[in-house]
């Protein structure tokens, strides 16, 4: 097991910079997830760690050894591909044994390791089948088995679950978490699915346009997004962003959207004193806007009256898209609440969970 370090790594394809100034240290046994929209450079970063792509500049080291010039096979890492990339003409056993055979591992040991990996993954009875005779989930397991038998310093996963159907994905996600616990290995995992990122990662690296937007523990990224992009990317439905001003009234600061006003809780207000009368972006997650059930609201929770535009019941709750003045936003309310389209609704906004962002740069205003 090993630490993986990326130091000022850049990658350019022709004239296009795909990864810029990527610096990250993945600790030994850590599970790090790179997440971001398509084309953000996350897969390229992973492929550079694997050695499948050359680094334009910067340094990558694995277990203290600089590997920039080391070919993939000598980096002692294993990779699981999105397409599984199983050899179609080999059976499951040979697929898993191929890497070991190329490394001259003795036959008995190969046999032992393949059998053990197959057992861990529950595919012992499939060893003589070919990939074409396997279901998607089974192929996925074989692809992981091929990585496990190698017993590498680190595992790289490139969107391993995105070819599975929704139900299987949830199941494999749980199994992946268990597997990591069992193997205690360093894992770098790429996905565009924020749920996978949130549930699997020790730390999440959010990327956009080849740059790191934020690195942090899942809840940290969720609760204290460093900028508007991260705030909007993590969480579903995504965070509401409203263009507002910060207004002062006596001792209190307010979020002023012209057609509505929400008081900023005192314990957070002090951080925004410098921004009074300035335009900012107010961010609030749909789960922090609920139905208003009583008149007296707890400290930091503000009333808001809006008109319902869309109502989407999903069983456990109702996703409401509402508007106040020119501002549109979503809220998650209880299914017991009567919600009618084009009628007013009384909501309660938990201002303790609000975020403010700089309008031009999108950087979070330090209010914590």
């Amino acid at each position: 097991m090993a630490e993986i370090r990326l130091e000022q790594v850049n990658k350019r394809f022709k004239k296009h910079w795909v990864v810029r100034d990527f610096t990250l240290t993945v600790a030994d046994r850590e599970f790090v997830v790179l997440v971001g929209p398509s084309g953000c450079g996350k897969s390229t970063t992973l492929r550079m760690i694997a050695g499948l792509e050359e680094v334009t500049s910067g340094e990558i080291s694995i277990a203290g050894r600089v590997v920039n010039q080391v070919p993939p096979k000598d980096r002692d890492i294993a990779m699981v591909f999105q397409s599984y990339a199983l050899y179609p003409h080999m059976n499951v056993y040979k697929n898993m044994a191929f890497g070991l055979m190329n490394r001259g591992v003795p036959k008995d040991e190969i046999n032992q390791r393949v059998k053990r990996a197959a057992e861990i993954l529950g595919i012992s009875d499939l060893l003589h089948r070919r990939p074409a005779q396997l279901s998607g989930g089974q192929r996925q397991r074989v692809a992981m088995g091929r990585a496990i038998v190698r017993d590498p310093q680190a595992f790289l996963f490139d969107e391993p679950l995105s070819n599975l159907d929704a139900k299987l994905r949830v199941q494999m996600r749980a199994e992946l978490a268990k597997l990591h616990e069992r193997l205690q290995s360093t894992i770098v995992y790429v996905t565009h699915d924020q749920i996978e990122a949130m549930t699997l990662a020790h730390r999440i690296v959010v990327m956009k346009d080849g740059k790191i937007m934020q690195v942090g523990r899942p809840l940290e990224v969720y609760e204290r997004p460093a900028n508007r992009f991260v705030a909007g990317f993590i969480g579903s439905p995504s965070m509401n962003f409203l263009n507002v001003r910060i207004a002062r009234e006596g001792e209190d600061l307010w979020v002023d959207g012209q057609s509505f006003r929400l008081k900023i809780p005192r314990h957070r207000a002090s951080a925004y004193r410098d921004h009074v009368d300035r335009e900012v972006i107010f961010g609030i997650r749909p789960e922090d806007i609920k139905e208003r059930t009583r008149d007296d609201l707890p400290e930091g929770v503000e009333p808001l009256r809006a008109e319902v535009d869309v109502r989407e019941p999903i069983g456990s709750e109702v996703i409401v898209t509402a508007a106040v003045g020119g501002h549109s936003f979503t809220a998650r309310v209880s299914p017991s609440m009567q919600v009618r389209v084009h009628e007013p609704i009384d909501l309660a906004v938990n201002m303790n969970k609000m975020h403010l962002f700089e309008p031009e740069t999108g950087t979070a205003l330090n209010g914590d």
Partner: protein, 276 residues
């Protein structure tokens, strides 16, 4: 759309007629090869099986040393088909997997263009080259000039392009170098293509007449197509069609056997692809 009785009958008639047209020359050759010299000239032609089968085949076999010719033809056809497969797999591998080298596209088009030049156009320069090498009247002359194959290169390149890139990456991670990837992954996956190419090229080479005629002088280096021409004998003599047909049937046998052997795995290969 419902198929009517008339349509069905029409289809059957069309198919039957086409099969008869295709089969007729073969059957006629077969029947003629059993006739006596006189019978083979009778008009209208006779379609019954005659009694001279063994005589005719023996005559054909002995008159031109058919055994040696069949051996030569088989040897060079197998060698050329195999050589073409090896060379074109390597070329296609280079074209598909070895990054971007300067002039790659142009080079590929040039290779395709060579395919458009028929043998007679290339025959003089090739002849000179072979002569300079001192290969006249050898198996080298009969095989090596045929080894390069634009068809094969194109066929394998198109197939390799359909192989997912992840597979090559996975092999790299698994510690397989380029040649190992070629040998352990691409070649096994190309089996069906290899069989198809083998069949096509075997028959192509089997039917060569002009080139073998100009680069061989001694009878023991001749090939079966030349043997058939030799059976036609001289101008002043009437052609012994019964013997010639016997020779033709003999010349047909090896490709037929190859076809029958390969057909099984060919069909299997296609069935395998369906699984994916």
């Amino acid at each position: 759309m419902q198929i009517t009785r008339t349509q069905r009958a029409l289809a059957h008639i069309t198919l039957t007629v086409s099969i008869l047209l295709i089969v007729f020359p073969v059957v006629f050759a077969l029947v003629t090869s059993t006739h006596s010299f006189q019978e083979s000239f009778s008009f209208p032609p006779k379609f019954h099986v005659g009694s001279h089968l063994l005589d005719n085949y023996r005559a054909a076999w002995e008159r031109v040393h058919m055994g040696r010719l069949l051996f030569n033809s088989t040897l060079i056809s197998v060698a050329v088909a195999a050589g073409k497969i090896v060379l074109s797999i390597l070329a296609a591998f280079a074209f598909t997997y070895f990054g971007e080298f300067r002039g790659k596209a142009t080079l590929f088009i040039l290779i395709l263009i060579t395919h458009m030049l028929p043998l007679p156009i290339r025959i003089v320069p090739t002849f000179e080259l072979v002569e300079d090498f001192g290969w006249m009247n050898t198996y080298y002359a009969l095989t090596i000039p045929f080894f390069a194959s634009a068809t094969g290169t194109l066929l394998f390149r198109q197939f390799f392009l359909t192989v997912p890139n992840d597979l090559a990456d996975a092999a790299r991670m698994d510690g397989a170098g380029p040649m190992k990837f070629l040998w352990k992954v691409l070649v096994p996956l190309s089996k069906t293509n290899m069989l198809a190419l083998f069949m096509i090229e075997f028959i192509y080479m089997w039917n060569q007449y002009l080139w073998p005629l100009i680069v061989t002088q001694s009878n023991d280096m001749r090939v079966v197509q030349i043997g058939l021409k030799m059976l036609l004998a001289g101008e002043e003599q009437a052609a012994e069609w019964n013997v010639i047909m016997a020779g033709t049937i003999l010349a047909m046998l090896p490709p037929l056997i190859i076809l029958l052997i390969l057909q099984g795995s060919f069909v299997k290969g296609f069935a395998m692809r369906q699984e994916k």
